[in-house]
Amino acid sequence: MTFHPMRFLIDRDARRRLKDRLAQVATFLCVVIALIPLGSILVTAVARGAAAIGPGFFTDSLPPPCNPDVTPNCPTGGIANAIQGTLILVALAAGISLPVGVLAGVYVSEYGANRIGRSVRFFTDVMTNIPSIVIGIFVYTLFLELGVLGWVDRGLVFSATTGAIALSTIMIPIVARTSEEALKLVPVAVREAALALGVPKYRTILRVVLSTARSGLVTGALLAIARAAGETAPLIMTAFGNPFGFQGLDQPVEAMPRIIFVYGITPFPNWQALAWGAALVLVLISLLISIASRLVLRSRFSIGGVHR
């Protein structure tokens, strides 16, 4: 709208302009309101977790509960066992869910223009919405029943294995859906060009399509990994927790989100500081993964050389 000095003298239009400005301010305030908790969380995590992040934070494990004001040598301890546990659980879960999810995404996108493909897509969507606590009770119940039947050892219910299975079950639908979406974005022309050159379909998919969709696939994988790293509820009844480091796939294992929950609600200052330190680390990792997936997406145009 061009600026015309006369307009300001007409009351009605001035009111409309005012409303426009107000709307702009109000919607901007909404953004600010949403970002205040984010800022508060970061500030609190730094303020309360800083006490724990010292040299021992990444190498020591759970200290005895104590209050530095009461006990003279109250050890700060660290979350080494939890970091290791999360790495192992997420690595195992990713190892299972990434290949499975990508292959399923390939199926739906490349071979799935039929009833099976449509139902896989629909049900995978359904699976992304299953609350994670339900997945936790599924894995616990399954392994307890297998244990009662004698097929597996009952102690396996609380182990890195069940924890990884629970996380995979959460990750697989996410990876499958994001992979399918990423593959769908690859232009048909690319596939047709490869097929016209005589490349068999499976090699087209493996060599050409997957490479072109690389950034979307990586983003989907990162998203699923970030989600798995932050899950707590299913791990309470599968991974169980462990003050020691990784003891084997059939033994309970600690995880960072779990210790945030368990130590955070205690009144012991050294445990609370560890919980906040872990929270800070987790939030930073999630932040890094978000940034990484954005960067990967932005560099889409330089990988594969596909122009739209």
């Binding site: 690595a91 102690g155 219910v157 169980f240 003050p243 003891q247 609600i265």
Partner: protein, 363 residues
Amino acid sequence: MNRRTLYIAIGAVAVVAVIIGAGALTGWFGGGPPPITLVGAGATFPYPLISKWSIEYHARTGVQINYQSIGSGGGIQQITAKTVDFGASDAPLTATERAAAPGLLHIPETLGAVTFVYNLPSIASGLNLTGSVIADIFLCRITRWNHANIATLNPSRSLPDRDIFVVHRSDGSGTTFVWTDYLSKLSPTWASQVGKGKSVNWPCGLGAKGNEGVAGVVAGNPYAAGYVELAYAEIQRMTYGAVKNAAGNFVLPSLNSTAAAAVAAILPNGEDSWTNVSIVNAPGALSYPIASFTYLLVYRELNVFGASMTQVKAKALVDFVWWVVHDGQAFSSALLYPPLPASVLGADERTIGLITFNGQALR
């Protein structure tokens, strides 16, 4: 180096890092045979002490005791399901629970006091209280701190005119069992309206998870009141009340008053029913009225676990329990858990002697 090589390199480094990390902490690299690990679950009541034992025992023997404090209810259920190697509970097994887990022994490993903690800015420890007043507070019949019933017990204190913020347990807890056991004995209204148990229908108040959770909420909220085991209150320098005992004295929970409560205790054999065991409202001038033993729950015949329990592991479990009731008691007092009385120690030794693996005694 192009991007694909970069990704592969990152992936490889990550995998190697995970493997090295896993190896270092499991002793795969030349540390000898992997350490023996025992998994336990249960009561939060003795958790500070068990946590200490876990660290000390590991330093002495290399055996790794992984104890998760999920509450007495959880301890009983998981040892019944045999998903853990031993359980822990402050509430003895009920008849139903005994029937579901035949052969489970009660081995008291320590005892402690349940305190009435409060967060009143201007009031130090030692607020005088009686069982019926506490019951009324948890029934929400007394809702303000300066209520006449509390004031008459504490003429020298100026109580704030504020609502009492009641905190209780949200999980199945042996501490709740002890607390409600006491309140049922001292308040007929409580006994008929709420009763005793690991989990009850609380008339009011907020639920928190574990002794830790209750202590955390009370510590974080002025004018809150709850019940926690003495160690939790002491570690946090929380203020707690002096409760009137059976002899009519207002007693603060402490090492001595808790130990005094256990003096006259007559305990059954480890393999029998402990359903009616209670040292609540114990006689004695110095006894603290809300005290309790807490029990390790171990199967008498350890081959019930199947393939995962080996002779070596069974022996390690029995050795741990033996150490706990003997050398482990040296760490109790510092955390305000009284050492086991000699009579209880003797009974424990007898019970531990009953534990077998494939019929062979392990001690």
